[in-house]
């Protein structure tokens, strides 16, 4: 693989190009889905190929192939160069200039204790069946779906600048959902997917079977829960829920390519424009959003990104003020930054790396505070656990979120269960309403495997961690019309 990568770079070096790189990538996947007692997906998959990116006269060309040999590398390198030449016809006065990056010759491997691919298939499937059997025993449960997903990515990156980076990344995930029917209603409750760059040891620690009965029971209880009225209330949100709020209202708007208009046709743009950098009050002084692609077990912790930039840690929002973006080598110079933040990711060998959300988390509070203490200070509010419905406008301002489990808070105590709760806000108004955080004991590295962006759409993975947090005076209502 290494020799082929270097060969590709050698071919392109003498062709009058500005820059080129190659990724030779092998993905191995295991996908298991069990519906009730029926194994619906028992699948292993391997994708193997390479993609070459060429910058010629300030414009990009990219070509890829799943045939990995010298002859094909020659063909694809030429094709990528020809495409770059075509792009340069329609680049106007703009020339891509890449932020500089030191040359790296390095290796990075996800540290794992147990290789998930070494665990017998029947052990994994029997575990999922046991979860479903447990859930289906609970009265009112009509369907149970459980899932596990494992991924190993082996990649060689080489560039004409001389970088040569070898990475092996493991990702493990599991989760499940119970469907309840009764009282003229349907409700679901999930053991939320919890992906990490880790081995099977992560799955063993999740307590999957141990929680199955509770999850099913809570699905059934939701059938009989009350729906809320429209009201302005305080909210206490758990880390699994907040991971999605953070992802949508902080992660995406601070991707610099969106800010600069690259995604205007589909994923959208952003309100967090560069003149706001260093000045704009994104949230209350308690709000610190930290990007950290070196976070242990983080889903974007890959040593280097897909254009050979070393993973880094930096602030996006510091004490409530917008101070940073996620960037790539192409977009960082557009706001005068000299180095990329290392956020260029491609979802396979055949995809062009684009600016993605890094591991991005809400830092825990500095004082020792428990979730119960956050709730104690709420007269009338709602406590939300887990992810539900979610939607946000293309500038990332107006959003509406649901959740997976809801309780009313009255006079400092969690009381009745609610269902179909939604809340709606405007991003900076919401984060400025935050007035309480739990400490690091309650912080969780929740994350996503299927963050969609780009055209054709690419799916990326990143961790968006959070503690529990309290928000004052948020517009809440019911999700059913």
């Amino acid at each position: 693989m290494k020799e082929l990568a270097l060969y590709a770079m050698e071919i392109l070096k003498g062709k009058g190009i500005d820059y080129a790189d190659i990724r030779i990538t092998r993905y191995n996947y295991e996908n298991f889905i069990v519906q009730d007692l029926s194994p619906k997906q028992v699948n292993v998959e391997e994708t193997y190929g390479f993609g070459i990116r060429v910058l010629y006269d300030g414009a990009w060309g990219f070509a890829s192939s799943s045939r990995v040999d010298r002859k094909e590398v020659e063909k694809i390198a030429k094709r990528a160069l020809d495409i770059a030449k075509s792009s340069s016809i329609a680049r106007g006065d703009f020339r891509v200039k890449l932020a500089s990056e030191p040359v790296h010759v390095d290796k990075y491997f996800t540290p794992i204790e147990i290789d998930p691919f070494s665990i017998p298939v029947e052990e994994k499937l029997n575990l999922l069946i046991e979860i479903n059997e447990t859930m289906l025993k609970v009265k009112g449960i009509v369907k149970a779906i459980s899932r596990m997903h494992f991924r190993r990515r082996e990649q060689i990156f080489a560039s004409t600048e001389g970088s040569l980076i070898e990475t092996i990344i493991y990702t493990s995930n599991a989760g499940y959902t119970a469907f309840a029917v009764g009282n003229n209603d349907t409700q679901t409750r999930s053991f939320q997917d919890y992906p990490l760059n880790a081995g099977y040891e992560h799955i063993k620690k999740l307590g999957l079977v141990e929680n199955a009965e509770r999850i099913a029971e809570e699905a059934r209880m939701k059938l009989y829960a009350e729906e809320p009225d429209e009201e302005v209330l305080d909210l206490v949100l758990d880390p699994a829920h907040l991971s999605l709020t953070i992802h949508e209202s902080v992660g995406h708007p601070t991707e610099l390519d969106r800010v600069m208009g690259y995604e205007a046709n589909f994923a959208g743009r952003s309100f967090a424009t560069p003149e706001k950098l260093g000045k704009f009050r994104y949230g209350s002084p308690l709000v610190n959003f930290i990007a950290d692609n070196t976070l242990p077990r983080g889903l974007a912790t890959t040593g280097y990104d897909d254009e050979g930039v070393e993973c880094q840690k930096w602030y996006i929002v510091k004490e409530g003020i917008l101070v940073g973006y996620s960037t790539t080598r192409e977009v960082a110079p557009l706001i005068g930054e000299v180095r990329s933040r290392g956020s260029a990711r491609a979802d396979n060998f055949y995809s062009f790396p684009i600016n993605r959300i890094p591991n991005l988390y809400l830092a825990p509070g500095k004082e020792r505070v428990t979730p119960e203490e956050l709730i104690q200070d709420v007269k009338r509010g709602i406590y939300i656990e887990g992810r539900g419905s979610y939607s946000i406008d293309q500038m990332r301002l107006n959003f509406q979120f649901g959740g997976d489990l809801f309780y009313r808070i009255e006079n400092g105590k969690k009381t009745k269960m609610l269902k179909n709760v939604i809340y709606q806000s405007i991003t900076p108004e919401f984060w400025n309403a935050l007035d309480g955080l739990t400490d690091e004991r309650f912080w969780e590295p929740r994350g996503f495997l299927t963050c969609g962006k780009g055209e054709p759409i690419q799916l990326a993975q990143m961790t968006n961690g959070a503690p529990y947090a309290r928000f004052r005076k948020i517009r809440t209502g019911r999700g059913r019309r």
């Binding site: 029926s38 194994p39 028992v42 292993v44 998959e45 391997e46 994708t47 193997y48 190929g49 414009a59 990219f62 070509a63 890829s64 192939s65 799943s66 045939r67 990528a80 495409i83 770059a84 075509s86 792009s87 016809i89 329609a90 680049r91 106007g92 298939v121 029947e122 499937l125 069946i129 009509v142 369907k143 469907f179 349907t186 600069m260 208009g261 690259y262 205007a264 046709n265 589909f266 055949y350 062009f352 684009i354 419905s389 939607s391 946000i392 406008d393 301002l397 107006n398 509406q400 179909n420 939604i422 709606q424 405007i426 055209e455 054709p456 759409i457 517009r475 999700g479 059913r480 019309r481």
Partner: protein, 430 residues
């Protein structure tokens, strides 16, 4: 070649049954933004997926390599995991041979369009956009896809299609316009006309006014309606309905929607030709889902069909809605006060049982007053049941093919509709 390879794999398999799936696509994607090409990509991927059955135990393995040694290893992996998988209580054997009539969707000329041709035609648009002080962003795709399925019982399904799609967002200082095109035949695409359409929306939307959320009459254009209807279609599953998990529980034969609503699937339709089989090679015929407002049938897989004594339908991922003869411009004339929506964004379920969804308007939202577009509006969030949308249809306009966002080379054929009592729930800042 695929047929021979499949035969070889099936012969070599130790399974009681074997199914071989081939998927290949060869596409060229030109992305543009800020009046220039930003990404320009050639993608050529072939995947082989081998499914092996031992009794009711089943497993599959896939590879992107066409090297026979790699394929043999993939077969071994499939055999290995199938042997170790628990038996499937819902097992159905592979399909028996059945003839599938072909749908012609391949135009060689669509493939002949080069990256240079695309760059030259896009450059004209970029120059015009710069001249008018606007910015364009979009995606221009051409290519081909092939899908083939062969099984140990002798069933075969094969489909090849070409594809050209173009979408464009024109952004002015405080307004934007969007349009999108999909077809198999490059000759049907008039790039400049598409640009002009999006440009005009951007022009019309300048100086947008804030409108108070509330209940409005709306004209929903085809691109917006297609994305909305997807959330209704996802509920139209016979098993989910029988298990009480869907809005469509006990709704067969009932008149739920406005009687002008006809929703159906037909890969052989002239307005929207499509792949005539589903992911397991099951032939797709015409399926009338909603006829004159009455729920006629739901999507039903082979296991559930056998268990409940129904006929299986296959599981297609495209649908059509009967259109009318009225242009959007004439629908506007019917509205005293209402809102025209070009595009919805980020639609998600809020409550599946009532098919209530939320989402935002985007890239061309207008206030209609006294039968005319009065002004562009700032965008709004809606919370509405798709069931109500089809109940409250007042008029149906002309249809258009709308590319399916995640469905590969497929489209829905969807009209514009004028709908009563649509609920906008909140507003945003632009």
């Amino acid at each position: 070649m695929k047929e021979v390879l499949a035969e070889k794999i099936i012969k070599e398999s130790s399974g009681d049954e074997t199914v071989v799936y081939f998927m290949s696509h060869n596409n060229h994607y030109t992305r543009f933004a800020e009046n220039r090409i930003t990404q320009n990509m050639a993608r050529e991927v072939t995947a082989v997926n081998i499914e092996v059955h031992f009794g009711t135990r089943k497993g599959s393995a896939a590879t992107t390599s066409l090297n026979y040694e790699d394929i043999k290893n993939t077969l071994k992996k499939a055999e290995q995991i199938a042997k170790h998988a628990p038996g499937d209580p819902e097992y159905v054997p592979p399909l028996e041979p059945v003839k599938i009539n072909t749908v012609e969707r391949f135009y060689e000329r669509t493939l002949n369009l080069t990256p240079e041709d695309k760059a030259l035609s896009l450059r004209k648009i970029f120059i015009s956009a710069s001249h008018h002080g606007v910015k364009v962003a979009g995606l221009y795709t051409n290519g081909e896809r092939e899908f083939a399925i062969y099984n140990s019982r002798g069933h075969e399904a094969y489909h090849k299609s070409s594809e050209v799609s173009f979408s464009i967002t024109v952004q002015g200082e405080d307004s934007s316009g969007y349009t999108a095109f999909f077809d198999e035949n490059i000759e049907k695409l008039d790039l400049e006309k598409e640009y002009e359409r999006a440009f005009k929306k951007q022009e019309l939307g300048k100086n947008p006014k804030e409108v108070e959320p509330g209940i409005y009459k709306v004209i929903i254009e085809p691109i917006a309606l297609s994305n909305l209807l997807l959330f209704l279609y996802m509920q139209m599953d016979a098993r989910a309905a029988d298990e009480g998990r869907s809005f469509f529980s006990e709704k067969i034969g009932k008149k739920i929607f406005n009687e002008s609503v006809n929703l159906y699937i037909d890969p052989y339709s002239k307005v929207n030709p499509a792949i005539p089989f589903d992911g397991e090679g099951f032939p797709i015929g015409r399926i009338n889902l909603i006829e004159r407002g009455v729920v006629k049938s739901l999507i039903c897989d082979r296991y559930w069909a056998k268990r409940t004594g129904r006929k299986p339908t296959g599981r297609p991922f495209f649908f059509n809605m009967d259109d009318g003869r009225i242009d959007v411009e004439d629908l506007v004339k019917e509205v005293d006060r209402g809102i025209l929506v070009t595009r919805f964004w980020y639609i998600r379920y809020v409550d599946q049982k009532s098919v209530t969804v939320t989402g935002m308007t985007r890239d061309g939202t207008f206030m209609i007053e006294d039968g005319k577009i009065a002004y562009g509006t700032k965008n709004m969030r809606f919370n509405e049941s798709v069931v109500n949308v089809l109940k409250n249809v007042l008029k149906i306009g002309k249809g258009k093919r709308v590319g399916v966002e995640y469905g590969g080379s497929a489209a829905n054929y969807i009209p514009a509709v004028l709908v009563n009592e649509f609920n906008f729930s909140s507003k945003t800042k632009f």
